[in-house]
């Protein structure tokens, strides 16, 4: 992967120049940080010192690095000898632990209310990872809560959230949201966000996510979590798509693989069903090569020979991997549109791909779609190739 220029400007990552920039995979500095967080020997300390030296220290770090610093703290705490910036790392862990406790208490209340209403739930992303894999409630920032219910339970689940004081942030009619989205966010005054899911991603999942689900508890309240193979697949596919954060998906994936009693044959089967595109294989190869992730070689071999997606999935992968900043969404939308047509549901679907994009962008007509496309093309033409990506790296990812 080519290196990229980095300028720290109020938390925004600024790119310059051209070339192959796969922003979903860690760059050199991010790899140092991940080594400090994940490697279980003294080289973690060496990586931490190298990261401090090369970045100029914690005072110059991007907000996105906070994602993994609590994990760095825990890993370094297991090493012998003093570690630079240890107390500030510990402070980051304390803060994260505090925030997570409040979120987990909210999760308990929501899950208990759902259970009382007879709605089956599954917690996703941070909540499930903390409960099942990290075994530490301070190392992994959660940001928000992600709760999955079965599609036919969504209206009732939204009523439960409403009764608990959570309001949907999108007032689009549910029957339209059910087509264009996979979740709807809810917020409560002075509280965090709850994403109510009916699917795992905008690209409809072919695997039955409830198959092999693990029974877990959040604060004593029963719920479920994805099976380890599906959880790993979810984290990987989420991480290597647009807005995926490399520090996040790598640390989550390594943790699942290490602690998840992974059924690798089930993982292979799930990947073949899901056809996520060849970048998933690249992610696995990367984790093995860079972090010695205990992924059996036969998994890589078999997936290397498997059909991981058709032309649409490959084009979507290519667009994301080649940093087609303003164009990577359209192949992805096409894949999403195709997957929608596969699902067995009674949803009213758009008449075609163009109308699907129209629905996503909430434009009422093809004229509106055209105007929006023109405005985007104008931005590209105006700023050219040196246009700052402006990716707000403080966006929550998983």
């Amino acid at each position: 992967m080519a290196g990229r220029d980095r300028t720290f400007t109020c938390g925004l990552r600024v790119h310059s120049g051209v070339g192959l920039v796969d922003r979903n995979f860690p760059d050199h500095l991010e790899e140092l940080l991940l080594r400090a967080a994940l490697v279980e020997d003294l080289s973690a300390s060496d990586a931490w010192r190298a990261w401090l030296a090369e970045t100029g220290g914690l005072d110059r770090c991007e907000w996105a690095t906070h994602r993994v610093l609590p994990l760095v703290y825990r890993n370094l705490a297991a090493q012998r000898g003093p570690q630079p910036e240890f107390e500030r790392l510990k402070g980051l862990y304390r803060r994260n632990w505090y925030l997570n406790q409040r979120l987990l208490r909210d999760a308990e209340d929501i899950l208990a209310a759902m259970n009382a209403a007879g709605i089956e739930t599954m917690v996703l992303k941070g909540t499930s990872l903390i409960a099942r894999y990290y075994e530490d409630q301070g190392v992994r920032p959660m940001g928000d809560l992600d709760v999955l219910v079965r599609a036919d339970a969504v209206p009732r689940a939204m009523q439960v959230l409403l009764a608990e004081g959570w309001l949907p942030v999108d007032d689009t009619p549910l029957k339209r949201l059910a087509v264009t989205q996979h979740a709807v966010s809810h917020v409560r005054a002075d509280r965090i966000e709850v994403d109510l899911h009916w699917d795992l991603a905008p690209r409809r999942w072919r695997n039955d996510v409830w198959t092999g689900a693990l029974a877990i508890e959040i604060g004593g309240v029963p719920t479920a979590a994805l099976s380890p193979p599906l959880n790993l697949l979810h984290i990987l596919t989420h991480g290597i798509r647009p807005f995926g954060q490399p520090l996040g998906w790598v640390s989550d994936a390594i943790t699942i693989i290490r602690n998840g009693d992974m059924a690798w044959d089930d993982f292979i089967d799930a990947v073949v069903v899901e056809q996520p595109g060849p970048r998933l294989l690249a992610a696995l190869v990367y984790l093995r090569a860079t972090f010695s992730a205990p992924i059996p070689s036969y998994v890589v071999q078999q997936l290397g020979q498997a059909d991981l997606g058709g032309m649409a999935e490959r084009l979507a992968d290519w667009a994301v991997g080649h940093d087609i900043r303003h164009g990577s969404a359209y192949p992805e939308y096409y894949v999403q549109w195709r997957r929608l047509q596969e699902t067995d549901n009674d949803l009213q679907l758009p008449r075609g791909y163009v109308e699907y994009v129209q629905w996503i962008w909430k434009t009422s007509s093809r004229w509106g779609l055209g105007i929006r496309l023109f405005r985007k093309a104008w931005q590209i033409a105006r700023f050219g190739k040196s246009h700052p990506s402006g990716v707000a790296v403080c966006q929550d990812s998983a």
Binding site: G91, L92, R94, Y98, R102
Partner: protein, 137 residues
């Protein structure tokens, strides 16, 4: 008397030689270090308060530990951090590692932080001191 951490209202965690705790009802955050953390670990393990004082008296010979320790325990109770339980309940306490007692005696204490919303708004790297969050610069 037996005192246990007042779960589930109080959630606590051990970080090296520090105990951090939250009162989930009020949102207040607490930090216990030194002898205060050691006492907490012993209470969590189901040690009776009399036995606790006895251990400290044996360790810190010629120092009158009972008064400061009992005052500390009273403050813990006043903050709802601990609750009194019966011996049979104390016997089921978690098998937690006991923090080693400091060599020098200092009266046990804890820090209490209540301005949490403002503390959470602090930049946890740039606006804190060398002790780390939640200590403001």
């Amino acid at each position: 008397m037996w005192l246990l951490p007042n779960h589930p209202r109080i959630i606590s965690e051990t970080l090296d030689d520090e105990i951090i705790a939250i009162n989930m009802r009020s949102g207040a955050y607490y930090s216990l270090r030194g002898l205060g953390a050691c006492i907490w670990s012993r209470l969590s393990a189901g040690t009776a308060t009399d036995d606790l004082v006895g251990e400290l008296e044996d360790h810190y010979r010629e120092i009158q530990v009972a008064s400061p320790v009992n005052e500390f325990l009273a403050r813990l109770a006043a903050e709802d951090l601990v609750r009194e339980v019966q011996p049979d309940v104390a016997a089921t306490a978690s098998d937690v590692p006991l923090l080693p007692l400091p060599e020098l005696f200092e009266p046990p204490d804890f820090e209490r932080f209540t301005d949490m919303e403002n503390l959470l708004l602090l930049d946890p790297v740039h606006e804190i001191d060398e002790r780390g969050w939640p200590h403001r610069a």
